[in-house]
Amino acid sequence: MLLKTSLRSFFAHKGRMILSLIAVVLSVAFVSGTLVFSNTATGTFDRLFASTASDLSVGQAKDKLTADEQEGGAASTVPVDTVQKLAGLPGVKTALGQVMVQSAVLVDPKTNKAVGPTSGAPTLTGNWVETPRKSVDITSGSAPKGAGQIMLDADTAKKAKLELGSPLRVITKSGNYDFTISGIVTFRTTNPGAALAFMDTPTAQQDLLGTTAFTTVDLFGDGSRSDDQLKQQALAALGSGYEAKTAAEQKAENNKDVGSFLNFMKYAMLGFAGISLLVGGFLIINTFSMLVAQRTREIGLLRAIGGSRKQVNRSVMVEALILGVLGSTLGLAAGLGIATLLIQLMKAAGMNLDASSLDITWTVPAASYAVGVLITLLAAWFPARRAARISPMAALRDHGTPAEASANRIRIVIGLVVTGLGAAGLAAAASADKAATGGQWLGLGVLLSLIGFVVIGPLLATGIIRVLGAFLPALFGPSGKLAQRNAMRNPRRTGATAAALMIGLALVTGASVVTSSMVSSANAQIDKSVGADYIVAGQGMGAALTPAMVSAAKATPGLAHLTDAKELPANVTAPDGATTETKLVAATRTFTEDFRLKTTAGSLTAAFDGGIAVPQDWATKHQVKVGDQVKVDYGRGRTQSLPVGQIIDSGESLFSGAYIVNTDTVTKVVPEKDLPASIQLYGKAAPGADPDRTLTALQKSLEAYPQISVRDQAGYKDLIQQQVNQLLYMVYGLLGLAIVVAVLGVVNTLALSVVERTREIGLLRAIGLSRRQLRRMVRLESVVIAVFGALLGTGLGLAWGITSREVLAGQGLDILTVPTGTIVGILVASAVVGLLAALLPAFRAGRMNILAAIATD
């Protein structure tokens, strides 16, 4: 019986439910889409790794203190005879020597552009051997033979518009090698984005390693022994200096690399899904509040004829349940669409995922329904409670919808207290000494100020809209006056509608304050502390600067000097005995002219005179002073004791947390041939040389290496701006969803208000309000609500952003930049959003039949 009434009521009001439904659908779609997407991505990688992993992969044992291949170090290798040693072991069917490096760069000689992934996926170059477990098949051409032939994977070839017979250049540490494409291989499973290139084994050893050796030996068992048994046997046979990974270990390692990236994406997107759910919650609260208000008489009658409070409450909750279940179901379906869309987006960004099989595990519907239904029920609970409080007397009262009571005192007190606590939290964050404590206060302050603002929203609505709307009557006449009054008449409703918009805009504003401060601080830092005119660096993985490149750059006319910076892994031991694993920056002496680092004590020159520069945090923690001796361990028994020449301030942003030494100091214990390749070069134009012309000349010297970029200071600033912008646009894009839901909320509130005020509108039209004036009235109300929400949002966002900057001041964000343009943009955009949101409700109000409107009960 109860269910029947609720069902009937739900479908009778389906028009009014539609926007709430959309909000639930959107939020749930985001949740389910994210889950399906990350499942699919994991599945793609799983299948790929499962298809490529050998039973056992044997390689050189990794020494932590040896530079990785990607950091400019040499690839680790095993001797050729390892293959024979392993092939003879019992249970081994096949043992294959593999050459596979990530540091080679593929270049199309015709365009002089790098070929391969732009998404951060690796370019794998190696030898072609037929293995029992292949990830690729030759689909055209033939396997490479001799020094001039290479095979490329189909995806990369297609993207770079290369085909059989096309030339391809491979740039390695030992030089540049030209090849002709002899064959194309195609992946058996979906390739997420890595580029693959194969040569014959002698060529690969010669060009990629510079020595006759293998990077790994892959074993395939005959099935008589488990992978673990094979591993024990292999390690026992080879002795120390080797490591072996079973298929399961290889998979786990690969998954760990990919997983951290996928997890970051997953949690970021779920975070935004959460925000849009929160925003959607406000929309649902408003819808049910209005439905309850409009049905006051009906509910009063139900109570008068003997319905209990519980029954009234339950009837509203059952309606919410229907909405939640329906919304979750549709959202689940829409989520598949979102997942497909995300997969396409990733494809555009260079990451292929297997779109043909979306992985839908039981967790997806479970999470979708849980989230959708719970949020709907939670949001409907407040209006349902209010409905249950309606007295039977309401049935007898006058027509029309009773005005909501203005914000009550308890609510105001709670709101003010929570807002005050939030403000106190932000203040504590701003004045905290340590960034970590500051961060905790910041989180607390953000949360409390947000809750506080939501709670006192209705109070603010009355106050701010009175001020905000004061000019409306003067500007827009009677429409303006009526709009202002309408926006103020239900403060709770206006507050909730605006709060939805506020959340998204507060986050956007906060993020833009922090990022623009980041950019301006970095720029100021560059102006202040960078003396170098040019910065030479590789792009992407494996793009270290080989000696050939360094000498090419050094030969450029017009350069006063070129500083060569390398990174090498080392253990640094303080006088108190504590050892820190780090990547030491080793640079040539002219580094001291290229950078003026923020200094707590000592000087960079002292550090380069046979000493070391250490970061302030470390120095404070281990009570290290200038002049103290620290021990540096470069591995393989190479150690030296160095005096601290400089303590680098923690506010230094270019080299924050870095340990810096002179390369000449390092070469006292580490032979030059064991040093990794350079990471960056810093150049300075000679006095009298034209800086721009020197930049062009330097770029020309390195023309043959498209993976290397040469920038002057302006170019470097642009790069930072670009990187920050990329992050910002992603945040904006995802928050856009929350704002879309909030706009739906404005549309929803207006549409329901128009329905609720049918009689009023009829009366206004009867006594002569024109359609245009009426539509303007609705639009202005919408704009007022939207701008009110935007004001709260930008205000809150500014407070958050400024406090965050304050907290991060010690981390190099020493300049606060408030992006005035962005904030003005947000306010103007919110007015436009208000206008757009009012389009449909205003149109409907204008079309209302006057007589029918007057006759409405």
Partner: protein, 262 residues
């Protein structure tokens, strides 16, 4: 319509300034088509005299409200022509009709006459606000004085009694000095004392302020305040009465009911 009234109307062209605040000729209003066609008004001719208080009476479904809505430009007619003062309103676009209602017509509805967001004074001046006109201060004072609302101008409608609300509605209708005021059962929701009060104000505004009023009612007592009563039945004007009293109207209604049931 009586022969006399028709003769008066025929003498004057509906384009010139005449003795009629509103006129209808052969007005028919029908809903639906074919088999389901329902005729609410059937070729009605009517003239509303300037400066007079006219009541329209009739049983439910007689078409009295429809007639008023058509005369007031709230509803469109199926056939026939209607004039407000010297201007024909049939065939006007919504925009022109809206302006006509705003500038020339005042309304008093049975209930929900006032905007809850505006106070009494703001409600009274609303039509002029909408038109962007300044109210005539002296006239406004006089109207407010007449309806006895001087002390309650800052009150919101919810703070006023039903009778007071209707008096605000009467003041709003009068304040803009419309050519004609239409009342749709303006006392239908009031107790007899408040009703009498409102009717007295309407009567006084005709006598003292020279206002033209048309009122739809089914209450013989209310009709007794009018100068003239038109009786409607089945979409036609079946009779009229000058200088009516509550008793004579009641008597007429009884006869009328008897005729219908016979």
């Amino acid at each position: 319509m009586t022969t006399a009234a028709k003769a008066v109307h025929d003498q004057q062209t509906p384009g010139g300034q005449g003795a009629f605040a509103a006129s209808a000729r052969q007005v028919t209003k029908a809903y639906g088509a074919g088999e389901t066609r329902v005729t609410a008004l059937d070729a009605v001719d009517v003239d509303i005299h300037r400066g007079r208080f006219t009541a329209i009476m009739g049983p439910s479904g007689s078409g009295k409200s429809t007639l008023m809505h058509c005369l007031a430009g709230l509803d469109t007619v199926t056939e026939g022509r209607i004039w407000i003062g010297d201007a024909e309103i049939t065939g006007l676009k919504d925009k022109q009709l809206t302006r006509l209602r705003r500038d020339k017509i005042g309304f008093i509805f049975q209930a929900f006459n006032l905007l809850p967001t505006l106070n009494a004074l703001e409600n009274i001046t609303l039509p002029m606000d909408i038109a962007g006109r300044k109210p005539d201060a002296a006239w406004l004072d006089q109207v407010i004085e007449t309806v006895g609302l001087a002390g309650r101008l800052k009150h919101r409608p919810t703070q006023l009694s039903g009778g007071q609300q209707q008096r605000v509605a009467v003041a709003r209708a009068l304040a803009a000095r419309p050519e004609i005021i239409f009342g749709d059962e303006p006392t239908g929701n009031l107790d007899s004392r408040s009703g009498a009060e409102v009717l007295t104000f309407l009567r006084r505004s005709v006598d003292e302020l020279g206002q033209t009023i048309v009122m739809v009612t089914h209450d013989p007592v209310a009709a007794g305040y009018a100068d003239r009563v038109l009786f409607l039945a089945d979409g036609r004007i079946v009779d009229e009465m000058h200088a009516p009293t509550a008793d004579s109207v009641l008597e007429r209604m009884r006869r009328f009911d008897g005729k219908r049931t016979s």
